[in-house]
Amino acid sequence: MTHEELEEIASTEKERQKSFPRHIHVCTAAACLSQRSDQVKAGLEAQLKERELDQRCLVKGVGCMGLCAAGPLVSIEPDGLLYQNVRPPEETSDTAEIVDAIDRAPVSRLQLSPDLPFFKEQQKIVLENSGRIDPESIEDYIASSGYEALLKAITSMSPAEVIEQVSKSGLRGRGGAGYPTGLKWSTVAKAGSDGGVKYVICNADEGDPGAFMDRSVLESDPQRVLEGMAIAAYAVGASRGYIYVRAEYPLAIKRLKTAIKQAEKLGLLGDRIGDSNFSFRIEIRLGAGAFVCGEETALIASVEGKRGQPRSRPPYPAQQGLWQSPTLINNVETYANVAPIIRKGGQWYASLGTEKSKGTKVFALAGRVANTGLIEVPMGISLRDIIFKLGGGIPGGRRFKAAQTGGPSGGCVPEQFLDMPVDYESLAKVGSIMGSGGLIVMDDSSCMVDVAKFFMDFCQSESCGKCVPCRVGTVHMYNILEKIVRGQALPNDLELLESLCDSVKMTSLCGLGQTAPNPVLSTLQYFRDEYLAHIDQHHCSAGVCSMPKPAALAEVEA
């Protein structure tokens, strides 16, 4: 595959699409599919055929359009119309009305304004193709500048130059910890100079409860991730790649398989890519429902077919990873950022975001917020803007209580920090983490002690059992929290809980244990009065926990 051949595929595909004056996009990502968007798509196609409009209108299944709460979503281009909650033909006449409205006034009953802050305030880099291209067509991806970056890297840049651009971009690991991507790449590039095999792994084991960014990216634009991995492989000198993806994401797996096949067929993956000496193959490995496998050494063990237990570092995977060879591991979203950086230059990417956190971040907005769905915003935006502008605020007139970021490794950010910029450092300062991008909004109907217990329940059951502090400590912390929400806790239990948090944090082997106390610590820091009310007065202000009246109080009342 050469530049000319790639351009030819792109222009043929563009011509083909141009021959249809109108494009109807139907979201076929998991959330809309579960609301039967496949039947909506079939309904639209049938209606067009019936009216002999199928030569003028192209119906295309596309990736996630973001606003999952209003799905299934349908958009009409180039009119820029957006329809929400479109029901399949068996239920309503929605599809017929939409087709009837082509060239006429839109169906106002279903219309959703694309000028909503939810859409307007976003800045899309990772998701630029989501909701626009067909995730099962490599031609559509190529027509949207796909694989330009890979060929540019292979034919006109040295591996060192690729790494230089990535370093210059300031991109940091989007899996949550925020390690500088360029630095990681150059460590792997320097490792094992004896010409041995190196590996590139994509971590798509999105285990945080409440996060679905990686799923959406894989379902909406799988080629983008493959291209990012191939560029990374070229830069660090790897020839084999693995995508470790959750078995719970069947649609993402299916689209990845299709994408790999299509890329191999066009010679964009495989031997001697772009007539160079660079060869790269990608295989899929399925996870099997172990949260700890998001940790890189545990993930490597799992790819090797073993129990996913972490080991102590160093040696880091960059030196000794998969089968003891130097291995680069990045998250889905990190790889999805690579192609635009190579195409437009590191300088361009570095001009977005804040001083230390560059670019954009994808968040999965969920919980007690009006507009649940997927958003991509520039780093440094305030939490208030995310929740109240894009998210449309808290439904039902309730009061905002906290935003949870980083899943079981993160914390709860209370109201007083709503105007804080969202970047790696600011979130760490208030006791949470950026995490992979799950952002759960809670209102006053959530009890913070109960939320802490929820996360501790998660951690104690997901602890792999290798090291004692995590295996035993998380269970004890859970038991104490359980006592508190049942009104059986003693005053010194809080002290014990805090000291356990400290021990588990300091002495656990891997990130799971080291961060497991975070949800407890951050709720203790900002909502200590709720803990005390549970212990002393057996009172839960959110009304979630039912507790017997304290003996002393019961006596007084009697």
Binding site: G207, G305, A364, T372
Partner: protein, 167 residues
């Protein structure tokens, strides 16, 4: 490469051919263990001792290792499931929006807890860490189909229908 005698599957069930296909595709390498277990579970619904022993022999791995992997990962199950399965998502978003009430509703109508199957083998209740459909919270997967914004009463109704064998 050394040739090993072929291991014959536990029964002449045709589904073993699918399992053999996966093993062949991976060259019977030890690192394909998880992939092979996925295929067995996909084909038979669960992993029992004869199938684990067959996989162990075919991949030339100790049975202890295969058993260790099968029990380490939550996705694998060693017990057969009921006729109907109900997967309640207990991810954070679903939790905030009321998945505990959904579990209580199943417990009351079908008398089963997460991980259990009714004595008549009609219904299995499973919890999932997060099915990544947080925009639809609380979400439940009934026999492979996702339902959005499920209410406790919907759950109870579905359970009663399934339990009375008229699904």
């Amino acid at each position: 490469m050394q040739a090993y005698p072929a291991v014959s599957p536990p029964s002449d069930d045709k589904r073993w051919r699918i399992v053999e296909g996966t093993m062949r595709r991976h060259g019977r390498q030890a690192d394909s263990l998880i992939e092979v277990l996925h295929t067995v579970q996909e084909s038979f619904g669960y992993l029992d001792q004869p199938s684990l022993q067959f996989v162990a022999r075919s991949l030339r791995l100790p049975y202890s290792k295969v058993f260790g992997v099968a029990t380490f990962y939550h996705f694998f199950t060693l017990k057969p499931k009921g006729l109907h399965t109900c997967v309640v998502c207990t991810g954070t978003a679903c939790y905030i929006k009321g998945s505990p009430a959904l579990l209580r509703s199943v417990e009351e109508t079908a008398q089963i807890k997460p991980g259990e199957t009714t004595p008549d083998n009609q219904v299995s209740l499973i919890t999932a860490r997060c099915i990544g459909s947080c925009g639809l919270a609380p979400a439940v997967v009934f026999d492979g189909e996702i339902s959005a914004r499920v209410q406790p009463e919907d759950m109870a109704q579905r359970m009663r229908r399934w339990l009375h064998h008229d699904a």
